[in-house]
Amino acid sequence: MLGQTFFLCARVLRNLARQPIWIVVMIVQPMFWLLLYSQLFRRITDLPGFGTSSYIDYLTPGVAVMTAFFSGSWAGMGMIEDLDRGVLERFLATPAHRGAIVFGRILESAIVASLQAVLILLTGLVLGATNGGVTGWLVILVASFLIAAGFAGLSHGIALLTRQEASMIAVAQFIGLPLLFFSSLLIARDLIPGWMRTLSLLNPVEWAVRAARGEALPGTDWGEMGAFVALLVAFAFLMAAFATWCFRSYQRTL
């Protein structure tokens, strides 16, 4: 099954690599966010609660997580294309492991998100954010990988349930911005109203942000960071299970 997951993942990555516009956007967009937000909110660290006077230090892990979670949310579009073109049915008539078909897709999103995170970290470095050095970087990459995997699982599950591009787009839009704003991704936790802060603890995006930022900012709390990473792992597995369940329910409709 591992081999098949790998081959199916390689297939999608190879197809993406053939789309120059996709590559340019994937590279430029996160850099753009980083530059835009860091300029827009430059003076925000004059307020207390950021734990750093450099907003770019605060923002870089956040943008990595945001990029990963957005691209994960949209991953289901690829699944719908495979559905429409009959690619999925052709796979299903082979002895390929059913899970591998879903996992290959989830792995694709996680790998793309990790590559984007590297680019974001490099851009951040140019702008003066060190993000806690090697361990800080590793934690950010892990958080990006896991959050992309989790939302890709959710997205593929929804794609397999709705089988409609329009429904898929509506769901991705609907969850995207609220989850972004119910987190300390852009703004310090102390500045968020209390009820939102409490709710944000249920938000996987917040877990990823807190984990990613744990080492990047001074005063690392390894216990808390470990807990958030553990939550992310659980989230990724749960969503993979959800996608697999949706896959079975799709098969039953054939």
Partner: protein
């Protein structure tokens, strides 16, 4: 030995009864045609046999493996060329073949060797490294078939292999499939709504209507079982409904249908019946433009067994 056994399959989608007691058997090494109009249940039958769909009732086995109880063994044994192709359009022909081989469990250099061999056989070598979206319809369909053969299956399922192809590409595909049937020791189940395709490629056909088999046998035997000749009259200025009524009223004329501007009927002796038919039409002020007398075709076989017109059913069934 039978490579495919289908016994009393039933399947209902929402409120549409797609299969209603479908039964037939295919001997190993045979090219078998499932012939029927659109919506007759051909594709559903194939989807059950390739383990994509689960039947509501009945049983089916492929190469001795039950499709419901042992789908894994069935999948290893079969090649499936779906109606909707299912190739990855962004990938190249070779990449599609190699991935197909890997999903079928092939490993190592054998995968590349087999891909090269098939690219060569199907005349795809020149386009092997081009993305499939640049292929013509005929070329893409050849790749579909090659993908179905990648792991040297025992049984190959071809679902409407030439639907959507232009006449030239269809003829080329027929040559290809004839060659394939001759060269490889392969059982082929082919579905089609082209009578000519079934006639030409299949050693045996099952004529399918509304989810069940209405006639089965060698095409020539099926046609021979019908007595008499088929007479087809092309009308000068339409009025097929009225012509239909008149011809139906004549003695010794049976199984009369109107098809566009033609009236189609069967008679015991073509040469003897034609003057009477023409005179009757002429008397009603409906001149005939042309008349043909021929041996019954599979259209007549369909009409004989179902009481309905094949082409009308085909259009009613949708694409």
């Amino acid at each position: 030995m039978d490579a495919i056994v289908v016994e009393g399959l039933t399947k209902t989608y929402k409120d549409v009864q797609a299969l209603d007691g479908m039964s037939f058997a295919v001997s190993a090494g045979q090219v078998f045609g499932l012939l029927g109009p659109n919506g007759a249940g051909k594709s559903t039958t194939v989807r059950v046999l390739v383990t994509l769909s689960t039947p509501d009732g009945g049983r089916a086995s492929v190469a001795g493996h039950d499709v419901v109880r042992d789908p894994g063994s069935v999948r290893r044994t079969i090649g499936y060329v779906p109606q909707a192709s299912g190739v990855d359009r962004e990938a190249t022909g070779r990449e599609n073949l190699v991935l197909q081989g890997r999903l079928q469990g092939m490993r190592g250099p054998a995968v590349d060797r087999r891909a090269d061999e098939l690219l060569e056989t199907f005349g795809l070598a020149g386009k092997a490294s081009a993305q499939v979206k640049t292929y013509s319809g005929g070329l893409k369909r050849r790749l579909d078939v090659a993908m179905g053969l990648m792991h040297r299956p025992q049984v190959l399922f071809l679902d409407e292999p030439t639907t959507g192809l232009d006449p030239e590409a269809r003829a080329a595909m027929w040559d290809e499939l004839e060659r394939l049937a001759g060269a490889e020791r392969l059982t082929v189940l082919l579905t089609t709504h082209y009578l000519e395709e079934a006639d030409r490629l299949a050693q045996r056909v099952a004529i399918v209507s509304r989810g069940r088999v209405v006639a089965e046998g060698r095409p020539e035997d099926l046609k021979r079982q019908l007595r008499g000749d088929a007479v087809s009259v092309e009308l000068g200025d339409g009025q097929p409904d009225r012509a239909l009524e008149i011809v139906r009223g004549l003695p010794d004329v049976f199984e009369v249908i109107a098809e566009g501007s033609r009236v189609h009927a069967r008679v015991d002796q073509g040469a003897q019946a034609v003057p009477g038919i023409l005179a009757a039409l002429d008397g009603a002020g409906i001149p005939a433009r042309a008349v043909t007398v021929s041996r019954p075709s599979l259209v007549d076989v369909y009409l004989h067994h179902t009481g309905r017109d094949f082409h009308a059913d085909d259009e009613a069934g949708g694409g």
